[in-house]
Each structure stands twice: as C-alpha cells, then as structure tokens.
C-alpha cells in the first residue's frame, strides 16, 4: 500500500513569490492534515480536512495560506505571497475516518526555503 506522498520534496523561492505544495493521502483516508515544522521548533498543526471539507483551520498562520481538497482526494497548500518566515518543512498526514483510529501517517514533507 502506497504511503502519503508530497510534492515537491524541496522548493526554493524568493520572497513575494507563490508556491503550491501538494499532498496525496493514503487511499481511502478521509482525514487529511497539514503541519509545519520551523527550524528548531516542534511540528505544529495547520489545518484538517475531512473529505473535502475544512474541519479545523485554527493553525493557519494568516490569509497568505490557502488550502484546498477538491473531490476529497489530494490536497494543495498555496502560500501567496511567500515571506521569509514561511520557510520550514511542511508535512501532510492522513488517517481513516474511524473514531478509534487516531494514528496519523505522515508524508516525507516539502522543504520550503524562502529567500
């Protein structure tokens, strides 16, 4: 069974540019989460989709970040315009929609560097 995949693995952009990150969850997983790890800090929650609906976006830092999950399959996270402080590793995770299943399975991450 394929795991969570993310694209690109790395992205280097200049301040003010736009970047779009993509996440493909494990097939059949209705829960999809975005996280970010800034250097030296812990992994922090950004938002949560259940199928195509945003369940919780309390962790989104500001309105420069836009997440979508059209059709309830893959998700994209767009940063526009990017700022220096957006640099970090963006992880996606997924889990089945079963109340007893709380383990999340993570993708390899996208390493974003904003210059």
């Amino acid at each position: 069974e394929a795991g969570v995949t993310q694209f690109p693995s790395h992205s280097v952009i200049e301040k003010g540019q736009t970047v779009t990150l993509r996440c493909d969850p494990i097939s059949g997983h209705d829960n999809l989460y975005w996280y970010r790890r800034v250097m030296g800090k812990e992994i922090k929650f950004l938002l949560h989709f259940v199928k195509e609906s945003k369940q919780d976006e309390s962790g989104m830092p500001n309105n420069r970040f836009l997440a979508e999950r059209t059709g309830g399959t893959y998700s994209t996270l767009k940063v526009q315009p990017a700022e220096l402080e957006d640099s970090g590793v963006y992880f996606c995770a997924s889990s089945p929609l079963v109340s007893s299943q709380e383990t999340q399975y993570f993708g390899p991450g996208t390493r974003l560097l904003v210059l």
């Binding site: 829960n31 812990e42 992994i43 949560h48 992880f91 709380e102 383990t103 993570f106 993708g107 390899p108």
Partner: protein, 110 residues
C-alpha cells in the same frame, strides 16, 4: 496550554549501550501518547500509541512505557540503524490534533 518536553535534545550512544529517552507532558485529560521515529529527509514514522498509565509496548529493541506524567522510550542494545530523531506527541481531551515535542536526536556509533 498543553506542553510536551522531550529530553535529552541529543543523545550519542555506542552500539549495544542501552538508554532511555524521556517525554514529559503537562496536559489536561491525556487521551493518548504517540512515539514516532523520523529519519533525515523523511516524515515521522509511527512507532507506538499508549493510552493509560502502566501501559507498555514493544517493538524489536524499543519499549515504550507510560506514567501519569511522562513516557519513556527504552532502547536496548541499540544498533547504528536506530539512529534517528524520536518524536513524542500527545492527544488530549476531545481534540484529534496531536501536540508534539521537539524530539530527541539519537546517534548510535558502531
């Protein structure tokens, strides 16, 4: 606010030298505690979930234990391939969003 603290930040061991990693938490209503392993350039890989004080889980050279205030990840006779960052995360109350610690970076020398 929920807090998760992992110690030490970094640990160097010789192959075969057993040790323990600590994850202490200050939370209200612990519902579950997770241990993940993360290799360089990769995402966190799930290891264990613990739900109640006194619970223990094992996988190869790793054993995770849980008390009311902390969890330990015991590594018995580690090998170089056990080198990685080990992350702890907790679920509390009715939330499904884990709170992570900063991790312990483990290096095992041959």
């Amino acid at each position: 606010e929920d807090q998760v603290t992992q110690s030490p930040e970094a640990l160097r061991l010789q192959e075969g030298e057993s040790s323990s990693l600590n994850c202490s938490y200050t939370v209200s209503g612990l519902r579950g505690l997770f241990w993940y392993r993360q290799d360089p350039g990769k995402g966190p890989e799930f290891l264990f979930t613990l739900y109640s004080a006194g619970e223990e889980k094992e996988k190869e050279r790793l054993k995770a234990t849980l008390t009311k205030k902390e969890s330990f990840l015991h590594i018995t006779a580690p090998k170089p391939e056990d080198s990685a960052t080990y992350l702890c995360a907790v679920l509390t109350g009715g939330s499904y969003i884990p709170t992570f610690g900063r991790g312990t970076s483990l290096i095992v020398h041959p």
